[in-house]
């Protein structure tokens, strides 16, 4: 029996690169779901929105998609802060976030998808840039730039966030807000303001993730739904609110999906995330690095 070692190594490396991209996709949910306890199931919708904006700017002005993603950061931050304000006034303040808050985010997810279908149709859209196509090659190992660039920038973004959360006053306040709002208020930090900032950051990461997505694969409005399972599987497996846990979980899922796609066919890949999620919930609901 000749086991295709080269194929396996390539699959694992592709999985690591994919995992890097999953970091960018998930880090926002790690903040909103893990630290703020806001079950933002509409997060993938914001990612797809980012993809479409990157696509539009890229195809009309020829701007680099990643650059567009960076330029979108403040816009998405403001969008996130606005969404949180509505969420706070309508649900958190009234104590109705469990049922109606979830329905609210589901509605946003749904409206975004249908609106994008109405405007752009269900055709696949893709961005153009010089680095989409060529790959670094070491012996038999392929490192496509379209996957390498998102992976590197995602890791950089995660390190920056981790430093911000553990070194600055606001960052530490974000980590504290889920534990004890009252104590935080005593430290002269307005919990609502802190949550608004954190949710803004969480949505801002979706802008970059969206730009990466449109580099990685052609995008159509319903692609976002495939990411719901992945995003929450990674966030839960990593341990809610733990950014290092998110990295490990994202890499694990990326490798598992890549191996599945290589050896069983890509149509099975979406099932992997769900398997991860169910196994985690059944055996270790607090995740790998959860408290």
């Amino acid at each position: 029996m000749d086991f295709p070692v080269e194929l396996l190594i390539n699959a694992i490396i592709a999985g690591v690169l994919l995992g890097g991209f999953y970091i960018a996709v998930t880090v926002g949910v790690s903040i909103s779901f893990g630290m703020l306890d806001i079950v933002n199931i509409a997060h993938p919708a914001f990612i797809i929105l980012g993809s479409y904006i990157a696509y539009i700017v890229n195809s009309t002005f020829g701007l680099d998609p990643v650059l567009v993603g960076l330029l979108m950061l403040p816009v998405f931050y403001a969008l996130g802060a606005a969404v949180y304000q509505v969420y706070y006034l309508s649900f958190e303040k009234r104590g109705q976030e469990a049922l109606r808050g979830l329905a609210f985010f589901f509605g946003i997810l749904f409206i975004t998808e249908v609106a994008l279908i109405l405007v752009f149709g269900v055709d696949y859209r893709y961005a153009e840039a010089a680095y989409i196509g060529p790959a670094l090659r070491f012996a038999f190992v392929d490192l496509p730039y379209r996957m390498l660039i998102p992976c590197v920038i995602s890791l950089a973004m995660l390190v920056a966030l981790q430093v911000y959360l553990s070194r600055t006053f606001v960052g530490r306040a974000i980590k504290a807000v889920s534990q004890d709002q009252g104590a935080l208020a005593l430290m002269a930090a307005d919990p609502i303001r802190i949550k608004r900032i954190a949710f803004g950051i969480s949505i801002a990461t979706a802008a970059l993730a969206g730009a990466f997505l449109v580099i990685l694969q052609p995008v159509e409005p319903s692609v976002g739904r495939e990411y719901i399972g992945r995003v929450f599987a990674i966030a839960v497996l990593g341990g809610l609110g733990s950014l290092p846990g998110t990295v490990i979980a994202a890499m694990l899922l990326g490798i598992a999906e890549s191996i599945t796609a290589t050896f069983y066919g890509p149509s099975w890949a979406p099932a992997v995330a769900f398997g991860f999620l169910l196994l985690t919930l059944a055996f270790r609901p607090s995740g790998l690095l959860g408290r």
Partner: protein, 353 residues
């Protein structure tokens, strides 16, 4: 309203609806009415878990599709051929397969019962979806409430993946289910669509009856304690996990039952239509807009929204009408959190005072 009186009224209402359709010569009424009634079942089923217990199920489409695909699988099942059961283990690639041999099961003794009538398929669809609902609940309901919601969201994607890869029920190509034009009942020929409509009418009546019975029973009070304060309920001795599992199973089973006749209605079933977003969003939007927590809310919401959508699909477009549902859902949860029924009740109380 006493239960017996309610049953009589429900039967009278169903009979009146059916009699009214007999006056219309156009078959379209049955096609449109079937969809509206199907949403009555879905919305009522969703409300048993969502409205009574406060647990959000985003996977209505998955349970619905499970029912539909159970029906397709049974429809395609041919007892004349023996079932081949092969035991094998495959590691990563085909080359590392270990075959432990194949066994043939003779199932020809089942031949007289096949093809199964649709009511039997409805029961089968209900059982399959109920079991899946129970399993999902067992894994996730012991944890924080939002985990269940997330798992149901992911469930839809995964079940769709399984169906797409399952060739027996057509895979991604879809499956044709040819329905006969007419059905013979005691020597009378009635159009098949009328038969389907009648079945769905009965199913809708059954769903509303179950929801209403639960609401007024010990079970319903138990559900309400979970919704209002699960920790306090647990502390006062309410078996919360058991009650939640009952709710998930009943709710899932009803959704599967609503899905089972669907292949016969549509004639051609493919994964993307069975798992359509419309089912997931409507079964949440209808109870939310009508009003959760009572049996009448989802009924009002489904009849209202279902009818509006039937009209909008014909006159505007199906994508626009889904957008309307989404916008209405968000608007209602923000502005009128208790839905239409809650809003009217509030107005009435304000008048009395």
């Amino acid at each position: 309203m006493r239960s017996r009186v309610f049953i009589l009224i429900a039967i009278a209402a169903a009979a009146a609806v059916f009699a009214a359709t007999q006056l219309v010569a156009n078959n379209y009424v049955f096609f449109a009415g079937y969809v509206v009634l199907q949403f009555v079942v879905l919305a009522t089923a969703w409300n048993i878990l969502g409205g009574y217990c406060g647990y959000v199920n985003f996977g209505s489409a998955a349970f619905f599709a499970l029912g539909a695909y159970s029906a397709v699988a049974l429809h395609k099942f041919d007892p004349g051929k023996p079932i081949e059961v092969c035991v094998q283990f495959a590691f990563l690639i085909e080359r590392l397969q270990v075959n432990l041999g194949c066994y043939h099961l003779d199932v020809s003794f089942l031949a007289p019962v096949f093809p199964l009538p649709i009511p039997a398929l409805i029961v089968a669809g209900g059982i399959v979806s109920g079991i899946v609902g129970f399993g999902m609940g067992y894994l996730t309901l012991r944890l924080r409430g939002s985990f269940f919601a997330i798992a149901t969201l992911a469930l839809a994607v995964v079940l769709q993946t399984l169906i797409v890869n399952w060739d027996y029920v057509g895979g991604s190509r879809g499956a044709y289910v040819i329905r006969p034009a007419n059905l013979e009942v005691f020597g009378h020929q009635i159009p098949y669509i009328e038969y389907l409509f009648l079945l769905m009418l009965m199913l809708a009546a059954l769903a509303v009856f179950i929801a209403r019975t639960i609401e007024r029973s010990r079970l319903g009070f138990g559900f309400a304690t979970i919704r209002d304060d699960e920790l306090a309920a647990e502390a006062s001795g309410v078996p919360t996990l058991r009650l939640k599992l009952i709710a998930t199973t009943i709710s899932g089973a009803l959704m599967g039952m609503a899905g089972a006749p669907f292949p016969y209605y549509i004639g051609y079933l493919e994964p993307s239509s069975a798992f359509g977003l419309a089912y997931a969003v409507n079964s949440i939007a209808m109870p939310m807009i009508g009003g959760t927590g009572t049996w009448i809310g989802p009924l009002v919401g489904a009849l209202l929204l279902g009818t509006i959508q039937q009209v909008a699909t014909v006159t505007i477009s199906s994508a626009v009408n889904l957008l309307i549902v989404g916008v209405l859902l968000v608007a209602f949860v923000i502005i009128a959190p208790n839905g239409l029924v809650g809003f009217i009740e509030q107005r009435r109380r304000a008048k009395v005072q």
